[in-house]
Subunit: 337 residues, 4 copies
């Protein structure tokens, strides 16, 4: 942390700030400049809790320097992490494709889609049994019955299953039936849920909140790691902006940013990230080209009758064409598919 | 919902859309224009689930018309709701001030602050026992011990107590000790928590999520009402923007917007809304002047030593001065304080 | 500027950064901490042009410390500036109300509105002769004829005139006819226009750009001052967000923020800031209560027939009621109206 | 436009709205629904100027339906436009790469970079002679001298030249020396400049404003086409969000969105779009994969000494590697490079 003094700060005021720093057990390092003095603070472990120095006399502003995340940082673990989901490595040299319906609607629907995405080359099956919906009057998912259907689809296709848990009780169930627990964007800062996921025996896919900074995103992952579960995969799914042409704004630059400061793998979800079927394939190709470790894509064999998020689901045919494109892009960035 | 056809849409395509609408049990009303045809849809109850018509041949775009909220709407209940919190009416002709520390740190600290805000004229005591924190390494609150302290402060000052619950288990405890259950911004779309709050016997203060639209905010309130708890108070606390000078951007225009379409009362929290002590009083005055039903303000007798959110807490002295200002502003908008 | 080194940075890398700093004529101050070393840079005048140190070996990140603005800063001029517009002081103890139609449509319309706002107590007359419109097919203003009409309205009412210039040529004309030159939000970073306004003999009202940070807003004002025109008044008019209920999000917290770091006066425009007639009065009251030096309000005697921005214009009756409210709020913040 | 009535609207109120519509020369089409009546408006050419119907008795809300753009729309011209810049076709089957320094600093610097990007396969040379800078104290470009240097670099390398004009006078000069006129993000709604560019004899590259919607972006292009210059190329360069890890948020989803509704070509500028050197190559690959017609990339042989935007410039070596990657991605989306 750096305390910047006003130009007209007196030597007494500078001394006062240094004393305030030292009273908290840290060390203050005044740096006298031509125009003003800045005071560096060292001796703290992690980020200082709050800019308590801002209201001291003579202080112009306080600038945070340290970050609060530790376990997720590449400084702590320089090599990239590989997280295994049902035997499928995420974060290594592959481009991992997770595909399936937004919501599990029936055994038949799930099997149709699961077989189709398997045939096209998907590695993991996604599908929602617990659906967080903006409206209480919308379809909220089949619950445990949905989990049983997903397990049956895994049985038949061999695809490991990824599905969302929306509360602490749900993690118990998802942990039992699925191969990875997804935490959705709306729950990215549901800290009770994160802590419970941190105690789970299954890997966790953590989606970025709709207006989460990178710092907050990594801090939420840190909650899970801090409880002992190191098998965390991040997932970008678009942020909220003023856009008048897509449901969210897919923020692909976060992929190289995460790679730079964290060892965790990161997926991209272009289905929620755009909200529009015709944009899913172009943004999927872009996500692969930017260097993501994988994709999460909603596929439905009859999207116009889907109970949830139909307009952003692509058909099995579109998915197959997309997979062919991805197979050509993957080697450009040194990945296999 | 309105389906807008492309200029070059054929009569067959228009007919196809009408048939698709009617196949779903609704009615289609073509409106032929000079340049293009639009087709109105009626017969639906509430908002149509999804723009399934977008991918039909000849369709340019689909425009939603209905809103999905019902119980929160002024169309359903034209007169403004008054919610009683421990006997204090919120939403009537008064300007209700909720004040207290961000976090309950100790009995002594809580009593000092509670006495001070009571003396200055506050109506409700706020204080956090369960703190949702971005970092797992930050102070997370005293838990049930904090609730006992709040109850003791109520005992002494007579101020009803408002405190946050961050998970379903927490609601059980908060319901037992406090007079109103606060749902924080990060949990605005934690639907399991909303449903549990909807079954609570105490009023709920629902804070707006950091990037929530008004539609989403009201839909989250709708979750609570739909479970049978009609005692809901909304609270604006700032939204996330690109601002380089405040932690959040306090969106005061939501107050008249809510008043226009909903019967629920709405408070403003200028402490989180700005994140900076020196902005709390000016924005509190603004919130009163814009017509809010009340304020939530963080007060700490020694903000530089606060365990949480010190930089946005004001001192008891600042609070007293602010209350005097508010007493002059309240009558301008026809309120008493 | 502060250069933060990686935890594993070697002494050679630290030395390399210090040498790079000194090669540019500055001084480097290493601050060794428990976990990492930070290096302060002094000797620069103003903000360093660019984070050129970011790519040096061992560097984790570079944090800017200085701000680039000078002349607008309270550090340079501690006392608040008072800008006279046609004899009306803006920035002193008064609450200055600028009112009038969005666009000048005719002499008759302008006179009707000018007389009405004068009668209600407005201090300055606003009205657009050059209108920046999103669409090339919208009414673009009457041009010089509009300026003549405004001058005639001043003649009759005695109200000094504020009007927008949208290009360098327009400043010549506006300077001749009006009492203050308005630079609109879309032109906040039209630097040629700012430089020309900096050479004008009339005061300038500079509106905040739709997504401008405070730093950028002040830097644009700095352009004008740097050319020698110190008579600059800032104006907040709402920023672009994801809001689904107002055209822009009025960011009232910028008022105390500007007061804190700049000596320039600041107005608030709740008409553009909300885009909705029914929100203009509440947000005007809020802007007064937050401490703005004045307001800019669009008034039209027949808003439903206005050629521009009708939906955000209030009627003369609504304006009169608002002025009565403002007269009660002004003294609360120590202002006269 | 669709006028939605309140549930309790009376038949008289509905009649009143229809009459108000017809008084303006349009036609009103009431659509009675189970819960409420909506009234469609036809007979208007283009978008209706303003929601004047919102304040009529019984009206709940007014929903715009038509768009105001015409000439840029695919409805007017279904086939994609190809714009020739100095003989290089933009918008056909190729992936056009524009590269060069942010600012023209000297003949020597410009030649070094121009030769390097030419050797690596770039099609167009970019470089700024007039630089719009946030600070009046930053390097503002060499002006006409810079244009002469660019012309000399074209002479030697054969690369057509793209450079920005920041005001009406600048267009005269740029038109004389360069092959395409760039309008920067800050000037996207500088309508005087757009009109002048619409009269130019050279193609125009229009960058998206920092917070421009797609509608506004296309309307600004419409200004240029409406003056008779149909040679317009759009360019996405990132929008302003709350991001804490990149200067702007590159919004790649706009590429398929533009392709869907407009015939104009669109480039992507990942240099400004990210502001960070290490993100330029990944986002360039992503932009190619999403289907952009080309890229604008800042290259500098000594970025740490660049007078402008050094941190976002890549080196000639990085550029060459990137070009090799792009050559592999282009065929995946059916383009040649």
């Amino acid at each position: 942390m750096l305390v910047v003094m006003r130009k007209d700060a007196t030597p007494e005021q500078i001394k006062g700030v240094v004393e305030a720093i030292e009273a908290r057990g840290y060390k203050g390092h005044p740096i006298p400049g031509a125009q003003r003095t800045a005071i560096g603070i060292t001796g703290n472990r992690g980020a200082l809790e709050a800019p308590v120095f801002e209201s001291l006399p003579g202080v112009l502003e306080v600038i945070p320097v340290s970050h609060a995340y530790k376990l997720v940082s590449r400084e702590v673990k320089p090599e990239a992490s590989v997280v295994e989901i049902g035997g499928v490595p995420v974060g290594g040299g592959g481009l991992v494709v997770t595909a399936g319906p937004c919501a599990v609607e029936s055994l038949e629907q799930t099997l149709i889609v699961a077989r189709a995405v398997k045939a096209a080359g998907a590695h993991l099956l996604r599908g929602g049994a617990f659906k967080p919906r903006t409206s209480p009057y919308s379809f909220q998912g089949l619950g445990e019955e949905g989990l049983r259907i997903l397990a049956a689809a895994r049985e038949e296709t061999g695809l490991p299953v990824v599905t969302e848990a929306v509360d602490v009780e749900g993690v118990d169930l998802v942990e039992r039936y699925a191969d990875a627990i997804q935490i959705g964007a709306r729950n990215m800062q549901n800290f009770s849920l994160l802590r419970r996921a941190g105690k789970a025996k299954k890997p966790v896919i953590l989606k970025r909140g709709m207006s989460a900074t990178l710092e907050e995103f990594l801090m939420s992952a840190e909650y899970i790691l801090a409880e002992g579960n190191y098998a965390v995969v991040l997932c970008e799914r678009g942020v909220r902006t003023f856009s008048d042409f897509s449901r969210n704004t897919l923020d692909l630059a976060i992929v190289p940013a995460v790679k730079n400061i964290s060892h965790l793998p990161i997926l991209v979800d272009p289905s929620h990230g755009t909200g529009r079927r015709e944009k899913v394939a172009p943004l999927s190709r872009a996500a692969a080209a930017v260097g993501a470790d994988g994709l999460m894509i909603e596929v439905h064999h009859d999207p116009n009758r889907a109970l949830s998020d139909g307009p952003q689901s692509i058909t099995p045919d579109m998915f197959e064409t997309l997979m062919q494109d991805l197979r050509q892009i993957a080697p450009v960035i040194g990945r296999s598919l």
